[in-house]
Amino acid sequence: MSVDALIREKAAMRKQLAREPFAKKISILIRMQRMARAMAQSSGRPFRGSIWGEQQ
């Protein structure tokens, strides 16, 4: 796949994400928060964020 085609595909994916229902976007956000925590933990850095809905 060419770079141009990749850029077009990414732009289309971002347009699609923007149109998703709010609830789905929130569930994606929580996945992003979990990924950020996993990345921090795997590299030994402290995780300073929080995962929404988890007991603190």
Binding site: R14, A18, K25, I26, Q33, A36, W52
Partner: protein, 174 residues
């Protein structure tokens, strides 16, 4: 898909408003950006608000914090309050732009709970005003996504009022 994360927060905020502890509020910050654009990593649930006791220069969020503590919610990092597992940050609408943004906030329903959200054009104006790295990153997401419903004419009216048109031009032409 989880549908029970934001509802409890909004119900609590509406309860505070009904009790007269918040004069008004609207969703702002990263969650508002996420509402209009694609999901963006954020940890705070920003609430743009007016406290009822801030006549003149006095700003007193104490009754809100006291009530939330009585309701069983605890304080998180800095001045966040954990409401149903979500760190909520109250941002007083204490300048002209935020105050106008709150007055013009859009009424919406999330998880069956009525609420208000800062409109996209005021969000952009406020991020342009703050212009921190995280604001610039979010501005990029908004500007470079054709699916984001930005009203350019309305935006330019707001930017003109708050002397931000030149900054917008510089950002746009980078």
């Amino acid at each position: 898909m989880r549908g029970d994360i934001i509802g409890p927060v909004l119900r609590t905020l509406n309860e505070l408003k009904n009790k007269g502890l918040l004069a008004d509020y609207a969703i702002g910050g990263g969650v508002a950006v996420l509402y209009y654009a694609e999901p963006v990593l954020t940890y705070d649930f920003d609430v743009v608000c007016v406290f009822p006791h801030n006549a003149g220069a006095l700003l007193d969020p104490t009754p809100v914090y006291r009530e939330l503590k009585q309701m069983g919610f605890c304080f998180g990092k800095e001045d966040q309050i954990m409401i149903a597992g979500v760190p909520v940050q109250f941002i007083p609408a204490d300048d002209g732009l935020l105050s106008e943004a709150l007055s013009n906030a859009r009424e919406i329903v999330i998880e069956d709970v009525p609420t208000k959200i800062i409109t996209l054009e005021y969000l952009v104006a406020n991020m342009l005003k703050l212009y921190r790295p995280k604001d610039r990153a979010k501005l990029d997401l908004i500007v470079n996504n054709e699916a984001v419903p930005l009203d350019q004419e309305r935006l330019e009216q707001i930017l003109g009022t708050y002397s931000l048109l030149e900054k917008w031009r510089q950002f746009y032409e980078r």
